[in-house]
Symmetry: C2
Subunit: 510 residues, 2 copies
């Protein structure tokens, strides 16, 4: 189908494009779900879960292990008993009234700013796994070099909107200074917004905000301007611990977006029945959301979920299960009910390796997330083994899955030109379209062009070495890493970051 009248270099460039060789890094492309969102349960059932959560908040309450949080709740009029907080409907409604339904997350390169909320679905790689599934297929502890590699891969992909500051735990860096090195890697190797993720207490939170301020124009420039999400997980059931609360309080004071994400495991940290687990989950989210709004009304806050079940045979979490997908769909409905942006799902699996299981499970949770209206896909790439492992090959496969999903939901143009009635008439019954002028006008842009998925005769596949998709992804990953181009960063800012890291490292070492 190549047009032989093209000059040779153009043909070569076209061939390269079509064959999927590395290309110049592109800006993020939004993933937009313009359709009516999928509702797994009826509106009346959403109301019933809401009512049950209110009953939990009024009667059972939630424990906050932080005097500052308790003081905040008290000052807002909540009833407290020691560190247990009881919330009633009027206070909750007042807090929910100040949450934004949509906001912009700012990047150091404004071309990579991301909208969170509405029809937008932003994606981020997995965050937090202690292990890496290497390009050699070995599972080993994560390192700073791995984290840097995942930053490089993330920078290049138009389908990754937010960088994971902790795509893996950099276990070769001492714990006390690890967060500094991770922030430095993410802020220098990429120019997209960076996810703070879990922050281990006040000092780490302060370091994070200071490093963000360095590259984004100073402390004032980030005050009330969303630049980094902080992740706050409830310790289910109904409990928020001190480090989580310290980071919540500091991020909220700066008007930085807070992700409230209970990770209830039905049968262990919540009731076995999904209805009960979601009622408790929802109560935990609402309590966290309330605190953010008491601290600073209008602070962006996301309705998060990592809630699922366990395998009753061994009590292992089951994050790629049908119950996980149900939980994603229903939490997205609850988030819509409260007019909150939703974080959920991602590419989830319990498989230890990038195999058939890891791919049917992750496509299940990914597609459910997108159709259900999740706005922020954390763990959108690379995750294996119930969040314990980050895989290079799976990461590159996931780039393909996200690109497939973007193509799937992009608006289908229905116009005289695309309906092509004249062409259909000219070709006529039993004809073919290969040489039609309409085909030549459209074939380049019309269809998704995969990098990993094969469609080719069996004999060609055999002759090319019988590689499976995971092996092909491994090869492509090496190409992508080799093709990485570091984005521009003012050398003064880069030096300032370096100086900050050195100073803090010295302080910590003292």
């Amino acid at each position: 189908m190549a047009d032989s009248s093209q000059p040779r270099t153009a043909r070569r460039a076209e061939r390269r494009r079509v064959q999927g060789a590395p290309t110049t890094p592109a800006h993020s492309q939004p993933l937009i779900a313009r359709f009516a969102k999928f509702n797994l349960i009826a509106d009346a059932d959403v109301e019933r879960i809401h009512a049950a959560s209110l009953a939990v908040l009024e009667k059972t309450g939630v424990v906050f292990k932080s005097d500052a949080a308790i003081d905040a709740f008290r000052s807002a009029g909540a009833r407290t008993h020691g560190q247990q907080v009881f919330l009633d409907r009027p206070l909750l409604e007042a807090c929910l009234a100040t949450t934004p339904a949509q906001y912009t997350l700012h990047a150091r390169n404004p071309a990579n700013n991301v909208t969170i909320g509405g029809d937008f679905c932003a994606t981020m790689p997995g965050g937090g796994p202690p292990y890496v599934h290497s390009l050699d297929g070995v599972r080993r502890p994560g390192t700073l070099a791995d984290l840097e590699n995942f930053c490089r891969l993330s920078q290049q992909s138009p389908d990754i909107h937010v960088i994971a500051r902790k795509a893996v735990e950099a276990q070769d860096v001492p714990v006390a200074v690890r967060h500094l090195r991770c922030w430095q890697a993410a802020l220098t190797l990429t120019d997209k917004p960076v996810q703070s993720g879990f922050v281990n207490g006040k000092a780490e939170a302060e370091d994070a905000l200071q490093m963000l301020a360095i590259v984004l124009g100073g402390e004032r420039a980030i005050d009330g301007v969303p630049v980094a999400h902080c992740s706050v997980n409830a310790n289910s059931p109904l409990f928020y611990d001190t480090p989580m609360l310290e980071s919540l309080l500091l991020f909220a004071r700066y008007g930085q977006p807070v992700l409230i994400t209970p990770f209830v495991m039905a049968g262990v940290t919540g009731p076995t029945t999904l209805a009960g687990t979601l009622a408790q989950h929802n109560a935990e989210v609402l309590a966290g959301v309330a605190l953010t709004q008491i601290v600073r009304p209008g602070t962006p806050v996301l309705y998060g979920t990592a809630t699922s079940n366990i395998d009753m045979r061994n009590a292992n979490p089951a994050i790629g299960s049908p119950e996980s997908a149900q939980s994603i769909a229903i939490c997205a409905q609850l988030a819509r009910y409260y007019k909150l942006p939703c974080r959920g799902g991602g590419a989830l699996t319990d498989s230890p390796i990038p195999d058939a299981q890891s791919n049917y499970e992750r496509m299940f949770t990914l597609l459910t997330s997108l159709l259900s209206g999740v706005n922020f896909l954390m763990h959108g790439l690379g995750i294996l083994e119930s969040y314990l492992t980050m895989s290079y090959a799976q990461f590159v496969i996931d780039l393909e899955l996200l690109a497939m999903l973007r193509q799937f939901v992009q608006p289908i143009e229905i116009s005289d030109e695309t309906l092509a009635l004249d062409t259909i008439h000219d070709v006529g019954p039993a004809g073919h379209f290969l040489e039609a002028a309409h085909t030549l006008r459209h074939y380049r842009a019309a269809h998704f062009m995969p990098h990993i998925s094969l469609r080719q005769p069996f004999e060609q596949w055999e002759a090319a070495g019988r590689q499976d998709a995971t092996q092909r992804a491994t090869g492509r990953c090496r190409e992508l890493l080799a093709g990485y181009v570091k984005p521009a960063l003012d050398s003064t800012l880069e030096a300032a970051l370096q100086a900050f890291v050195e100073r803090r490292t010295t302080n910590v070492a003292r």
Copy 2:
């Protein structure tokens, strides 16, 4: 979590159940999508595609290579030109007015009758692949023994509702008598409804109906009682060939359900743009539907789709593509628009082996089909390599995917018992639910229990031999085949089938 007060045999039975050993064959369990269906495009765009199809039918027309079909169209008032038929809106509307929105497909065991239409989603294995991906991982021509094996696997699964008479091409049986041996296998090894699928002309269609009559109570018993779908593919663009029409005419005369399934490949047998390909596809479906209703008003007919794109690099079909998923979703919308049951999707992939690709692609098309309201998932199990290969291991993986989807869409009970507010209160903040009475009451039935998917500590997986999901499925397939139990069939009927096959074999050989 085992209740040690149970007697030992009960505990053993429970352990067997939980560990997923073969169990007694179960009747089919319906897959019911009780939610509002997913709409990828706006209603106005559905109307535009409909209007474009009407224009194609009025101006360009469709060729039917059958004098009997042309006579039927003429008698209904259609304009014809040789074998080209032009349909106008009034005639089409009259034909659409007599199609049933829902019907029951009858099995020789009434417990396995299946509802087609409404919120129901019936599944059938792949049909027609010439090759098999064996349990040893080798691709080779399909045999009658393979077909029999897929019948045995299908009979056992509650998630397979319709048996594929041609799950593979039995290439070791001479073409002239192959259909007889396939029907005999499907009708004796299973007691679920059997899919006729493609029928190569009038003689084969007559044999099919006679063999069905033998096991279902005589010719009168199947006249107007749906017992087997016949598949009719248009030869796109806008062309129906003689063998397809012969079987359509005979099946419709018996009131047997007809599947009208264009397999348009955008860019080759239809315009490159999806809008144009779907306008043409829809015109082809409407023309076929009209013929069924002219032959016998009220004949069940399904709106089918196998339409997708090709890979522009090598012109290979791309059935696991985002465009394939778009086509499934939009055709389901078109079917709803016409109040026709919809056949589409299935577990589709272009991968030659049961790997990561075959599993992310099939979960994409499967879940899209279910959420979009497809009523009949043909090719729901086993398909690899763009319909060319049927895989044992993938078949068993697909059993798991269908079971996951059934769990996902089953209604979630929201009641005082499942909301469990008292239990949440009693456990309280930072407690756990493992020993709660509520957990003991519910844990057995609450969650999906996989046969293939693992959720277990990495070290356990390593110690157990590091099998990937495909290897585990291969092992389970051997277990399922060993555990097969042939369903009862009256020996007189079985002998009558045998006699019919022998008589026809002799006739054909003459």
